[in-house]
Symmetry: C2
Subunit: 114 residues, 2 copies
């Protein structure tokens, strides 16, 4: 998608601090971190919203979660704990219309989650 910020990051047209990459998934540091560890985990394929996932393509979000778990373990935040968040559409505060999973850790989190 030519005008998608995260597609451009995946294509290395816009720089980001990359934390993980495989053929399907990219993880990079959030530009406005809300916790000591705050990574965005995205599919390289352009999917605008989590609501676009159906049974046929839902393995995409499974891949994002597996990468999040791996990054949480590597960065030492798994045992204390981490929060995974996906925002869908404006009321949730979705800012970029390319599916992204937030991995937040390294501090305690309050409830409700926003």
């Amino acid at each position: 998608m030519p005008d998608c910020l995260f597609c451009k990051i995946a294509a290395k047209e816009i720089p980001a601090k990359i934390a993980f990459e495989d053929p399907h998934v990219l993880a990079f540091h959030d530009l406005h971190p809300m916790a000591p560890v705050h990574l965005q985990i995205i599919p390289k394929q352009h999917i605008a919203r989590v609501s676009d996932l159906k049974t046929e393509n839902a393995e995409i979000v499974a891949r994002l979660v597996v990468v999040a778990n791996q990054l949480a373990a590597e960065r030492g935040i798994a045992e204390p704990g981490y929060r995974l968040v996906i925002n869908c559409n404006p009321a949730a505060g979705q800012s970029v219309y390319h599916l992204h999973l937030h991995l937040l850790g390294g501090r305690s989190f309050s409830w409700p989650p926003g």
Copy 2:
């Protein structure tokens, strides 16, 4: 798991206000709702934490997300927006050690998410 609250809900040994059920997944209303729509979506299989998901069993979380999307559409919160949250371990506030996806909608959500 004999002492797991959510296994007991899945087995109908403890009542809950059920929103969805299929052979693999159960969704029910959170007892302490933090939004006009606040559902818990769980696998019937006992998985303690999201961090227990690896590539081999990550389709479990994909199923939870597909059900969340379906419930969000049915309840009219998809277009304004909804937030999906998974807490892992104490720092994130995980309260029941049976994997659950929070679906929250029907209001606006602030940032950071807790």
